[in-house]
């Protein structure tokens, strides 16, 4: 029943997109968790390049309310197109694991580098893609793994990934290493293990890899990124199953794609991403 509901509203939005359906996306008609406000969830700490600006309580590392960083900028742009002023957007802390807990959600949508998969879409509703992502490997400079040229070269090393990312699945499905990969609850645990040499290589999405090498582990480098064809991974915003807001957000995302706004935001916040060598 619920699934049918969510599916049909999704289809309407992506096929129609203009005309009659835009009426239902008027700000007054939206079903929101808090009236008149758009409540957006993400995890804390909020890391660059997804979020930017100086750290401000309760947020650590950066501040989603700054409008800086790719996901913050995308969320505010979507909000603007739905008719929300900047001060009508509320950010709340939503740890990754609670983003998909059953039952009512405390947010209208969560934006937290969450990859779409068909299984996940059974539990929550996903927006269309706002970023197509590649996975990459980070290692300490001067270690044997740092010279790897291909995915096969990585097989003999101890790899790690963060829980809930599709990076772990990527390791299991495409790299198939001989040692059991380690899985960490958080980005900082994974980074600690990389610094300590408890793992040889850390698999993360490419923009995060740039942040790890630039800010978190100075003596590290990006060994390379994996070709896009393997996984065809994309990030989507997460909504409660059956939430009709998905259609309106998709409409805003479509506009942002066709008028080039999304591309501009990517160039602004994720510019360096094109430069990593590709591991075949």
């Amino acid at each position: 029943m619920l699934a049918g509901c969510g599916g049909s509203s999704n289809n309407n939005a992506s096929s129609g997109g203009t005309g009659t359906s835009s009426n239902s996306c008027a700000k007054a008609d939206l079903t929101l968790v808090n009236d008149g406000k758009l409540t957006v969830g993400t995890d804390n700490p909020a890391f660059p390049p997804w979020f930017g600006g100086p750290e401000k309580s309760p947020w650590k590392v950066s501040d989603p309310r700054s409008g800086q960083g790719f996901e913050s900028a995308v969320a505010y742009e979507v909000a603007r197109r739905l008719g929300f002023a900047k001060n009508e957007v509320n950010w709340i802390v939503v740890p990754f694991n609670t983003a998909f807990a059953p039952g009512p959600k405390k947010f209208d949508f969560a934006i937290n580098q969450i990859s779409y998969t068909p299984q996940r879409a059974k539990a929550v509703a996903f927006s269309d893609s706002y970023y197509n992502v590649n996975q990459a490997v980070v290692a300490k400079r001067g270690t044997p793994i740092a010279g790897a040229q291909s995915s096969a070269d990585l097989q003999k090393y101890k790899l790690g990934a963060q829980l809930g990312t599709t990076s772990y699945q990527y390791i299991k499905d495409f790299i198939k290493p001989s040692k059991q990969p380690a899985v960490f609850d958080s980005n900082d645990a994974a980074v600690a293990a990389l610094k300590n040499g408890q793992i040889d290589g850390l698999v993360v999405d490419l923009p995060t890899a740039f942040y790890v090498t630039a800010a978190q582990v100075p003596q590290s480098k990006i060994v390379g990124q994996f070709p896009t064809g393997n996984a065809g991974e994309r990030f989507g915003m997460v909504f409660e199953k059956g939430n009709t807001l998905v259609g309106c957000v998709n409409q805003a995302l479509n506009e942002m794609k066709s008028d080039g706004t999304l591309q501009k935001l990517q160039e602004k916040w994720l510019a360096k991403v094109g430069n990593a060598p590709i591991l075949h």
Binding site: F96, K122, A182, A189, Q198
Partner: protein, 267 residues
């Protein structure tokens, strides 16, 4: 108690059990969120998909448990003996023993695991192992040694002082008396609470996953995060329960047997 009273008691027991469990079942299955809960926690297909890998990961829990337990039994006994050392000269040792037990019973196990697992390898000493499972085991040994030493100590103190006095008057030294008279009685008495701590340890092996080791809980988290479905948690819980329930029943049986023996000796 007459036969009729016994039958009436049994009927009341059956009736009250039925009422309570049927009531609970109805309450849960008629909750508004039940269809969603059933789908996200009790999905049979999901269970079948995730169970084999979680069961494989569970072997790591069993391994951690067995290795840690062996060390804990020895170290905890040493600590208990140290805390019971007689004489003013042994005061610094007793203080150290108390400080150790206070500290490791006071700090949450997950913190000890996190500090050791990421802290010790960060020293970058060549001879310090990097393995996260190794440090997880060390942390569990440190924490549970503190708990189990208290259990041993309670056993030692439950042996009446006259036993020790009698042994000493026969010419046994402190150590001989401890080894031949006090400890054999003490250890026998504390076997049930010892097993209780084993059960706790068995569950706490899941905390080692925090360091990145893929044990049963971590594997179930991986599956849950991949599918946004929590059925894998239920699979992991069943594996833990399958191991702890036999141990719990065995503990109950030991307690009951001990009580029977003591009552028999009392008459």
């Amino acid at each position: 108690m007459s036969g009729a009273e016994g039958r009436r008691g049994a009927l009341i027991a059956i009736f009250s059990t039925l009422v309570v469990f049927t009531g609970l079942a109805l309450l849960i299955t008629h909750a508004p969120g039940w269809p969603e809960v059933r789908q996200t926690f009790f999905d049979w297909g999901q269970f079948k998909d995730s169970f084999p890998e979680i069961a494989r990961a569970f072997l790591l829990n069993v391994k951690i448990f067995l290795i840690a337990e062996a060390f804990i039994l020895v170290f905890a006994l040493l600590l208990a003996v140290i805390r019971n050392l007689p004489g003013p000269a042994a005061l610094p040792l007793r203080i150290l023993g108390i400080a150790y037990a206070d500290f490791f019973r006071g700090v949450p196990t997950i913190l000890v695991i996190a500090m050791l697992g990421f802290g010790a390898p960060a020293l970058q000493l060549n001879w310090v192992p990097l393995s996260t499972t190794f440090w997880g085991i060390v942390a569990l040994v440190l924490v549970y040694t503190a708990y189990v030493s208290e259990v041993y100590r309670a056993g030692i103190e439950s042996v009446h002082p006259s036993q020790n006095a009698a042994a000493r008057s026969l010419g046994l030294t402190h150590w001989q008396s401890l080894r031949a008279v006090v400890l054999p009685q003490a250890v026998r008495r504390v076997i049930p609470p010892l097993l209780n701590d084993f059960i706790g340890l068995q569950k706490d092996t899941a905390l080692v996953g925090f360091l990145g080791s893929v044990e049963a809980f971590k594997q179930s988290q991986i599956d849950a995060a991949a599918t946004f479905n929590y059925t894998s948690y239920v699979a992991a819980a069943l594996l833990f329960v399958a191991l702890t329930i036999p141990l719990a029943r065995f503990t109950d049986w030991l307690v009951a047997r001990d009580r029977r023996r003591r009552q028999a000796a009392g008459t």
